[in-house]
Symmetry: C2
Subunit: 126 residues, 2 copies
DNA sequence: CGGGATCCGTATCGATACTG
DNA sequence: CAGTATCGATACGGATCCCG
């Protein structure tokens, strides 16, 4: 166990960098649309328009924006077929598949506690 | 397995309601600040000001706003001690504790794949 | 068809000031 | 100390148009 006393200022700086990076990634990933895209894409390979149908309610803009972000973070793979009209397919990468497990957990949690939450809301709204 | 044909319109309406409720709860919970508050609060009992220190970067306003929302959904319990100056303590409820398990998973995932994500970002930014 | 660019209303957020 | 209210800034999100 490394104590505060023997930790150099350089190591402190490293930890600070790691922390802010983790926070940054967390902010990217812990947003509604990103999580829904990952959840609905699952282990399938879908085109842009197909994915848009799956994640209902998402706008054209939000879908492209989030897909770019996920691609940048190495969570989705984007394959372009240079045909006309163009055909673009999206798949989750291995790290994203792991992430999907925990998102599944989040979805299960929601379904399990929906009733409790709904009644709690009604109690609160007085 | 219930097929589409034998499902009544009333049952369809129920399913639609459940779906939109689930979406609503998901939108509440799957946001950066809410998740961080739950994660940092953990199994402790913290005052408003203590919690504000823990979740660094959160503004006074965002903290109150999210705490109200979490309280409404029955995820945090708010205890007011009518002293002067006032003392208000927050704790996670049982459902929120369960949720914390999956948030822990999300945090572990972030730490595990930080390196991969960072290098993927550098590759993308060209 | 996929996606970039633009416009524009709205929700979000931070800072500040004020109450019990 | 905890919380509400108000006010600007700006980021978000949707609608639309156009290009490959």
């Amino acid at each position: 166990m490394v104590t505060k006393q023997v930790r150099s200022t350089a190591e402190d700086a490293d930890l600070a960098r790691a922390d802010s990076l983790a926070r940054e990634i967390f902010s990217d990933v812990a947003n509604k649309w990103a999580l829904l895209i990952i959840e609905f894409l699952g282990d399938r390979t879908l085109r842009f328009s197909e994915l848009r149908k799956e994640v209902e309610g998402i706008s054209h803009k939000m879908l492209t924006q989030n897909l770019r972000m996920l691609e940048r973070n190495g969570l989705v793979e984007r394959t372009v077929y240079p045909t006309v009209p163009p055909r673009v397919e999206y798949t989750l990468t291995a790290p994203a598949q792991e992430l999907r497990e925990t998102i599944d957990g989040l979805c299960r949690w929601t379904r399990t506690h929906m009733g409790h939450i709904e009644s709690s809301r009604h109690r609160f709204d007085d």
